[in-house]
Amino acid sequence: MQQAIGATNKAWPSMRWSRPRLPLWVVSWLQAGPLALVLFVLFALPTFLFLIVSFFDYDRTGIYPAFMLDNYHDLVNSPATIRVYLSSLKFAFIVWAVTLVVGFCVAWFLIHHVRSGTIRTVLFLLCAIPFWTSGIIRTIAWIPFLGRNGAFNQMLIEFRFTEHPLEFLLFSDFSVIISYVNLFTLLMIGPIANSMAKIDPALLEAARDAGASRWRTMVDVVIPLSKTGIALGSILVFTQVMGDFFVVKAMSGGQSASVVSALSVEIQAMQYPPAAANSMVLVVFTAIMVAGMMKVVDVRKELVK
């Protein structure tokens, strides 16, 4: 027995040495390094480049290194800027409100009404599968549906709900919002469903036991416990709408503008410095709005739980 213990004691150190360990700080850097590199090259560096270019001078033929604030000055003092920001904010707010209500209800249904795990997975997939096609295609697909002689109008006329095709369906704010809601509701469903799945069903019974109506259970228990998901979904939807230009362009028929569509006009005109200044302002603006949402809900703290 004594000998056996002695033998194992001897064996241990040699096993240790056969596998040299890296110092912990090297391990940490190796783990964080690849993503840090990707983020630096593909995100931080271009943003920094934009920042520099936004101070440059330009004319019709080229751009010239300089340090001037004219680009920002022109941007802030242009009535067009206020107009596109208001337009984008209007879309962002309406789309946020619609996707929040729809997303919350769908998530609630999926998590607390669908009892079978298989059916829940199938329904989630049904929500997710449209995302396998490109957003551009899904946007354009609305045009034959909503158009003056589109499927929806033809159906309305067929069933004699209306005599003349409805004009507001396509190339309007309505069609822009429909497309956004179609594109982004899943971004709301996912995080909210994730939060809701963590709610112990016993809590809902406890609320009922204490005399809470369904509505009060929602307001006092479910919504507070889903607020991390609501905040995350809101951030995703808000930033997507603020950053979009294709949907506004394609679905409004040129009648509405967004911040990024104004920006793309500048790029097409090769006015890179003002476009860079414009994008810097958009990034800062969106960052401030997101920070505001993060202030309402401490997402990081909630996620760690």
Partner: protein
Amino acid sequence: MDTNYDVELAKVTKRYGNTVAVDGISLRIPKASYCCLLGPSGCGKTSTLRMIAGHEVISDGDILIQGQNVSDLPPIERGTAMMFQSYALFPHLNCLDNVAFSLKMRGMGKAERHARAKEFLALVHMQDYAMRLPSQLSGGQQQRVALARALITKPRVLLLDEPLSALDPFLRIKVREELKRLQRELGITFIHVTHSQDEAMAMADLMVVMEDGHIRQAGPPREVFERPVSPFIARFIGNHNVITVPDGKIAVRADKCRIGAPGAESSVQGRVTAVEYQGTMVRVALMTDPGDEASALVPDAEFYAQPVEPGQVTAVSWSPRDAHPLSAAA
């Protein structure tokens, strides 16, 4: 309506699809009693509790609380309150708001409901933790808050779903005493679901043993222990031997059994399978010749005067007046 019973179950049945969880049980629980629903898992005790609470729809039959048929009423109108197994405290609310929750639902103003909630926190000695979140409390503390939250609705019947199962053994005994004290002081009926016969015996005025969706025996713990009606009851409540004798099966308490076969006493031959020292007693397990497992709890002095070893052939004996005949069923 005046009645001597707090809770009456009349042929209450619960079906889930084709399976019957609770099969037409009837039970009367006298006023202000501590009732334990006891049974192995899957016996229907929790379904029964949840039907009384109104969290489970009754498939058939009726439930009366203080003479009023509550079968179709929501929990709050039944005058019941439930303490959940996992406590189900609202994680986003501090203790005070958790306890005050039902008052808020009733539309009571903030100052008033907080004052009332403080009283109930004091009742369970948790007044110093009013501002803590549930996650900042130990299991025992969470349970007290859950208890205060249930009691603040002034229930006629308090329903407890395995309230002690999440506590460590030491705390379990303390909480046991405290629940019993509260029940006496408040003078309301407690219905307590448990799978531990020790717990039920220690606490119950009325012990209801369930098996397979049926009530097999209901009565004061002492009556159930002294006169089990079937082999299942005798085995389930423990410390009993079910022994086959020429005219059927009998139950004998293990502490009334002796090893060896002196004189006129009844006995049965068997082989010792295990000897366990338990401090004041020694438990000798045997396999009797008819094929029953039996054990004798022998005072330590008596055992060591005439010790036996596993494998040894001996007899287990008892006095005829300690033998209790069992019905053949089950």
